[in-house]
């Protein structure tokens, strides 16, 4: 298994190079450039040229990429053009902020989807199943940014229970999840982020558990006189590899940051950073963020794969 893990890790290198090259080319094809985005309307071409040289943007394209790659190999992600701060510190901060809400959102959707999915599987076709399925369809189809705005209107504007936007109260130096005045800022983004994975995972759990409940061995263990609770445990354990695979994917998507939810709530995570980098055509920032995200996505998939073989020894990774 360790050999498998190592091989998978080595395979990430071409993936990362591929991703960064595509990103590099795309941002170059898009009209506009980072220096022009930065300068005030009265600026002259000479001002632009000087800044362009400062950020190495006057070099030929392939050379720009190679220089960037060389810096990355020495652990230097460069300076963000739009903010004039080191890319590494920008990405680390944003990544931490996104993980914080994404992790809670995934845990929440995992637990809820498990409970509701299993109940729905048992009551297939019944009223409970219909309600749960309707909720799942709602979760999948409703746009999260719309939901985010609705949450703001209900909880911030009408009820005045939670803040509308931002991250953290101005009295706290840094965000603290164990302090209500800070944590209340995270609640609405977490709720908005939870709904989509909840819907998707609930449907996966429902169909996986229902399928297992129809299998012969369930009939056998029931015949042996096992309690219905024990039967459920058996069914869920058998459905777990499928659920975990879906869980990994969902966590991957959320780590990438929800551009829309983070923008609506001004939550400075990776989605917010990506959006900012694209709008400002800030290549070093975009490349750095994409690199870290691609790495995280690949690692998450690996962890999920390994976890699956631990849960179900029939799935061999070798």
């Amino acid at each position: 298994m360790w050999l498998y893990a190592l091989r998978r890790l080595l395979m990430t290198i071409p993936i990362l190079i591929g991703v960064t090259i595509i990103c590099f080319i795309l941002i170059k094809i898009a009209p506009g450039d980072p220096i022009k985005a930065l300068l005030p309307p009265g600026a002259t071409e000479a001002d632009a040229a000087r800044l362009r040289a400062m950020y190495g943007l006057d070099q030929p394209l392939p050379l720009q990429y190679l220089i960037w790659l060389g810096h990355v190999l020495t652990g230097n992600l460069g300076m963000a053009i739009s903010t004039n701060r080191p890319v590494l510190s920008e990405v680390t901060r944003a990544f931490g902020n996104t993980i914080a809400i994404a992790f809670i959102a995934v845990c929440l959707s995992f637990v809820l989807s498990l409970v509701m999915g299993v109940i729905a599987a048992y009551r297939m076709g019944g009223l409970v199943d219909r309600i749960v399925t309707a909720l799942a369809v709602f979760g999948i189809s409703v746009p999260t940014f719309w939901l985010a705005v609705v949450f703001v209107i209900i909880f911030a504007v009408n009820l005045r229970m939670l803040p509308a936007t931002g991250m953290g109260d101005s009295d706290s130096g840094s965000f603290n999840y164990f302090r209500w005045d800070d944590f209340k800022f995270a609640l609405l983004p977490i709720l908005a982020l939870t709904l989509t994975p909840l819907g998707i995972m609930m449907r996966t759990t429902r169909s996986a558990v229902a399928e297992i409940l129809n299998q012969d061995f369930i009939q056998t263990i029931r015949a042996k006189g096992m309690s219905e609770f024990q039967v459920t445990v058996h069914a869920v354990r058998n459905a777990m590899p499928q659920i975990v695979a879906m869980l990994g994917l969902q966590l991957g998507y959320l780590v990438g940051g929800s551009v829309l939810v983070e923008t609506v709530f001004s939550w400075p995570g990776t989605g917010y950073l990506l959006n900012m980098a694209i709008m400002a055509r800030d290549l070093p920032l975009l490349q750095g963020t994409i690199l870290v995200l691609a790495l995280a996505f690949v690692m998450l998939n690996l962890v999920v794969d390994l976890l699956q073989s631990l849960i179900d020894p029939r799935i061999k990774r070798s």
């Binding site: 009265g42 001002d47 004039n84 703001v152 911030a156 936007t165």
Partner: protein
């Protein structure tokens, strides 16, 4: 004895209670602003994020030698003494300005302000060999220093600015150039990323903390050199909130108490909730700049037709009154407005002119953005303008692009753009930006803001005369003539001027909205 102890305890408790109550009554007053910017502007002394950056992290933390008088809302803001108490051109040499500096001013870190700090600050953007040289600052403020050849110290309290040619409008240029503390930057090892986290200026607010992308916090500078402008709040918190609906929600939920540019559709709801909606005319021109060296707009009749075709009142109504009709670049309270030709809505005349010019249907391609600083509501507004133009015989091809791409079209100039027109709102705040750089041939893109290559030898002559005319009355007369002429030439399609709405919590008092892109937040008091 016990009774006495008990009485004392009760007395003590009562005192504590009263004390706490008293403290609560004197609670810190905080002005929390929701900006439209997507990020916190650069706080190191050369703001980005357009004039919003200057408004909130420029004139708050820093001062310039010449400042804007933002204390009135009934007349347009004009320049006033800042860190320089007075200025005049050298009677023997009209390319040398002498400025007397304010004495006894100190930076927030205690560093003294004097002639040396002024020359040091100009070297920050002019001398690439100086340790404090900052290429970003130089690029951001290049336009302000473009006519400056050198800056010398005359004595501790006097500096001289030498210009490349006679420049009677220099005071306007340097009104956007801030003085930062040399001591602090030196202590930071000339590292601007460190200075960013602890900047020091001479302004009415002092830096306290910066959480990147989240908020910038400033406190009142109780020792500010101008006692009239010591802030009447204790703290100023600045939050970036690019989404208009989020800004409105933040105000309604009490999270902020000052909101920039609420969208017109949220205004009725904000008003119903008791918020103060404040608007004021200011030089913010929402227009179509046109390419004048090529058909169709090289023909003055086509330009006039386009101006006659615009039903400005309809656009103002659509915007729920947060704009006023524009018949020229400037607003009527500016001293150079004059008595310009007014191309009022007249669709019949527009049709006639187009027929006369032989341009039927008169096709043109215009670059517009989907959003962006000062662009108001670009998509629906442009659709309306298109409809009005097409009603008289134009055929308009709107090409939407994101804000960044539109900036590229602007900076490259019309010739390289492939467009006949562009919708790019501008800030004609002073005669340099609003008149000379828009109309003189030498400022054609990429050397200035004359995007469409307007060129009129008479205007160029008046412009050069104005730059060498140090009598303000005579100079203003020349500048007025230029403005009147370029309006008569229909140098662009005039549409509306923004009224810059702001929404304030009913608990805020004392705000005077200046007719300017910049605002003075210091007089605002915050009710608990």
């Amino acid at each position: 004895m016990r009774l006495r102890t008990l009485t004392r305890l009760i007395g003590l408790a009562a005192l504590t209670f009263v004390g706490l109550g008293g403290m609560a009554a004197r609670a810190e007053s905080v002005l929390t602003v929701a900006m439209t910017a997507a990020d916190i502007p650069d706080d190191t002394g050369a703001p980005d994020q357009g004039y919003e950056g200057y408004r909130f992290v420029g004139y708050t933390l820093y001062d310039s030698l010449v400042e804007w008088d933002l204390s009135h809302s009934d007349k347009v803001a004009e320049i006033t003494p800042g860190l320089a108490t007075d200025w005049a051109v050298d009677p023997k040499n009209n390319t040398r300005w002498i400025l007397h500096l304010r004495k006894g001013v100190k930076f927030h870190d205690g560093c003294p302000f004097n002639a040396d700090t002024v020359t040091w600050n100009f070297a920050r953007v002019m001398d690439p060999k100086a340790p404090q040289f900052n290429a970003r600052h130089a690029a951001f403020q290049g336009a302000a220093i473009i006519n400056i050849a050198s800056v010398d110290k005359v004595d501790d309290d006097t500096v001289a600015i030498n210009t490349k040619g006679p420049d009677s409008l220099l005071p306007y240029d340097i009104a956007e150039f801030f003085m930062i503390s040399p001591c602090r930057l030196k202590a930071d090892g000339y590292d601007y990323t460190k200075f960013m986290n602890n900047p020091s200026g001479t302004g009415p607010y002092k830096f306290t903390s910066l959480v990147p992308h989240q908020r910038l916090e400033l406190v009142a500078n109780k020792d500010y050199w101008n006692p009239k402008r010591v802030p009447k709040q204790d703290r100023l918190v600045l939050l970036p909130m690019p989404e208009a609906s989020t800004r409105a929600a933040a105000l309604l939920s009490g999270q902020v108490n000052f909101v920039e540019a609420p969208s017109p559709d949220t205004i009725p709801q904000l008003k119903a909730a008791g918020m103060q909606i404040i608007t004021v005319p200011y030089p913010h021109n929402w227009d179509y700049q046109v390419r004048l060296d090529e058909k169709p707009f090289s023909d003055i009749r086509v330009r006039q037709a386009a101006n006659y075709a615009i039903n400005r009142d309809e656009i103002v109504e659509f915007l729920q009154g947060i704009a006023t009709p524009a018949y020229e670049r400037l607003i009527s309270t500016q001293p150079w407005y004059g008595n310009p030709t007014k191309y009022e809505y007249n669709p019949d005349k527009a049709k006639e002119l187009l027929k006369e010019a032989g341009c039927v249907p008169c096709e043109f391609k215009v670059a517009i953005s989907t959003s962006g600083s000062g662009q108001m509501q670009p998509l629906p507004m442009n659709e309306l303008v298109k409809e009005q133009l097409e009603a008289v015989g134009f055929k308009v091809d709107l090409v939407p692009m994101d804000w960044n791409a539109l900036i590229g079209v602007w900076l490259g100039g019309a010739k390289k753009s492939g467009f006949d027109a562009m919708n790019f709102s501008l800030a004609p705040i002073d005669p340099v930006q609003g008149i000379l750089k828009m109309n003189m041939t030498k400022y054609q893109s990429p050397n200035g803001s004359n995007w469409g290559n307007y060129s009129n030898p008479q205007v160029d002559e008046w412009g050069n005369e104005a730059l060498a005319e140090f009598d303000p009355v005579k100079r203003n007369a020349l500048l007025t003539k230029i403005n009147e002429q370029s309006t008569k030439d229909a140098g662009e399609i005039f549409i509306v001027h923004d009224l810059n709405p702001r929404a304030l919590s009913p608990k805020l008092h004392g705000f005077v909205q200046a007719q300017s892109w910049f605002q003075d937040l210091t007089p605002i008091t915050v009710e608990p």
